[in-house]
Symmetry: C2
Subunit: 364 residues, 2 copies
């Protein structure tokens, strides 16, 4: 095991934790080698990076014919890396409902089966989010008993610090009792992944006052007030952007609109400022001098820095990253998976929902 580059690498992402380097006698992380847009190149490079940094065993799952030649280009001396052949490949264009049954030997199926059979501690993919969600929830791993719906959960960078967002896309039409569980699972995730004690939990709404919000968030508020969690009430987008909470809960539609508006506005404003700065010579000189500052700004707010989404509520640690992810993003997603495993995320969700007596019910 080679640990030489640990410190260097751990400073590279916004959400590195000292704990990511904990020695845990080697985990086994199942990594979808066919996930990124640059499959299997970025996936393998990220996996090798993580293997070197952690000493873990990385199980590369996918088309062996494609994996072996790429892996041979890497320096893997002393690393623990295994290749597991998966004959079927899930594409970004595949419909989640279809692949679940039509491609039972995909890298996603096999990776999750390893987790289910306790041959791996976690599964990481940069592939089709909907497919990973469907295969995990409805086929291979299934929901933790008592969980009504799993939620896609990401530590999202606002004001330079991560806030746990959920749900970010899995449940566009949600019921109050689902969001109630999301709040609890998200709180646990903030404790484990962000080391927050008594994390603040909020509901995104159009106003903070009593009676604001639509029916859904008003119902959720009513439920959360009666739970023994640190629920701080409704929060508006402006306050969320100041990171005035550690966890924010919304349905997948609103969560997606929020994130896409945030990211779209940043692109928009950057374009407008660039255009304005180039409009005359004085501004151009100013822009040239200010270039370093702009670069730092972009880095601070780069959504690619947040790694992957954790699928909370299934029987196993599953992290789903961006298809456009670089090797570094793949490595970040693996690190995220390790923390969840170290923090006993799955057992904790089970126990906490039971303690709060909000497990079970309409398991349709």
């Amino acid at each position: 095991m080679i640990f030489a580059s640990r410190q260097k690498l751990s400073t590279l992402t916004a959400f590195s934790h000292p704990d990511w380097n904990m020695d845990d006698n080697g985990m086994r992380i199942a990594l979808d080698a066919m996930g990124t847009d640059a499959r299997p190149i970025s996936d393998i490079a990220g996996g090798v990076m993580a293997a070197r940094e952690t000493g873990d065993t990385i199980l590369l799952i996918g088309d062996e014919q494609k994996i072996r030649p790429e892996l041979a280009k890497q320096n893997t001396a002393g690393l623990s890396i295994e290749v597991i052949h998966a004959p079927e490949e899930i594409l970004m264009s595949d419909k989640p409902a279809n692949v679940m049954k039509s491609k039972p030997a995909s890298s996603m199926h096999l990776g999750m089966q390893l987790v289910r059979n306790q041959q791996a501690d976690a599964f990481v993919t940069m592939g089709n989010t909907g497919a990973a969600h469907a295969i995990a929830t409805l086929s291979v791993l299934r929901r933790i008993p008592g969980v009504k719906r799993p939620a896609l959960t990401i530590p999202y960078p606002v004001s330079g610090q991560p806030v746990v967002f959920l749900d970010v896309g899995a449940n566009v039409d949600a019921r109050p009792e689902w969001l109630e569980q999301f709040a609890v699972m998200g709180g646990l995730y903030a404790e484990i992944a962000l080391k927050k004690s008594k994390p603040r939990i909020a509901t995104l709404s159009n106003g903070e006052e009593e009676g604001k919000g639509n029916q859904l968030v008003r119902d959720v508020q009513e439920r959360l007030r009666h739970l023994n969690i640190n629920y701080i009430g409704h929060i508006e987008p402006k306050e969320l952007l100041k990171a005035k909470t550690d966890v924010v809960v919304f349905d997948g539609f609103v969560g997606n609109i929020f994130m896409k508006t945030f990211e779209g506005t940043i692109s928009y404003l950057t374009d407008v400022i660039r255009h304005e700065l180039m409009s005359n010579m004085v501004s151009k000189i100013g822009a040239a001098l200010a270039r370093g500052a702009f670069r730092r700004v972009r880095k601070r707010i780069d959504p690619d820095e947040y790694g992957g989404a954790a699928l909370l509520g299934v029987n196993g640690v599953v992290i789903i990253g961006h298809g456009s992810g670089s090797p570094l993003a793949v490595r970040s997603a693996i690190m995220q998976a390790r923390i969840a495993v170290q923090g006993n995320l799955i057992d904790n969700i089970r126990t906490r929902l039971e303690q709060l007596n909000i497990h079970g019910g309409d398991e349709d």
Copy 2:
């Protein structure tokens, strides 16, 4: 009537139209003098500005004891301005449901009664939005026959041009058939207020592909596809920010989250950039040189420029502006009202809904 300053003033806001200066033999605009946070000062100043610019009669409605001394400070020679006393005042803190019946002699009630009785062509207020909405919809003006719900509608500046947004707050829990009507009313508003022919109409969603969206927007899409309007389908926040539509339809909750996220992100990013630019001497010099560009950027995206919200679907032109509005914002709201009157907005809504056969139904 004094028209000297017309041209100058008409260049001051983003959405000035040549048509605002049309001679129409004098409208009568009822203006709530007790609307802005700086009541009645800004309200009166804006009203006087509009009276001078248009030659219209401005009816200042509110506490006469407060209005007269302020009006006396203005040069009103040759202008047509009337003061109508309203003994009751609606505060920003008032609950809409309460004021509707508890303050029947408020400036809002009286102003809308003038419209109802055809003693005024339109009503403009910078006061409590919820109160104005409730008084118009449930008490004084009532819904246009066949309209299921009125919608708050604003021409919102994105990418330097106005896009008609509705609903922006009145209906946080909406039904598909309401949004269907919003699309039609919003399209008409784009024709009249923005002079768009065959305006593009879109639904905001988390994706543009078939099957994306929550149940509400999918149902709305299905309905709009069958109408004889220029419906272009779902649009994502990023595309909306590029003004790839003329009208966007959403429920009041999602619309509010979108706008607050957009505005919050601009504030956030401006702060981050300012902080970064000040972090070292080279950047500071750059920032100083680029200052003019930043000022122009702020002006381009200033949400205060959009004037007021039109309450579409009631029997009369009602424009509700921001309480923080300056005299210029009050004047803009009056100009917005004039355009709606000139364009026969109310009759057009009635006719169009009938033509499309989507009037009437569940008028609960």
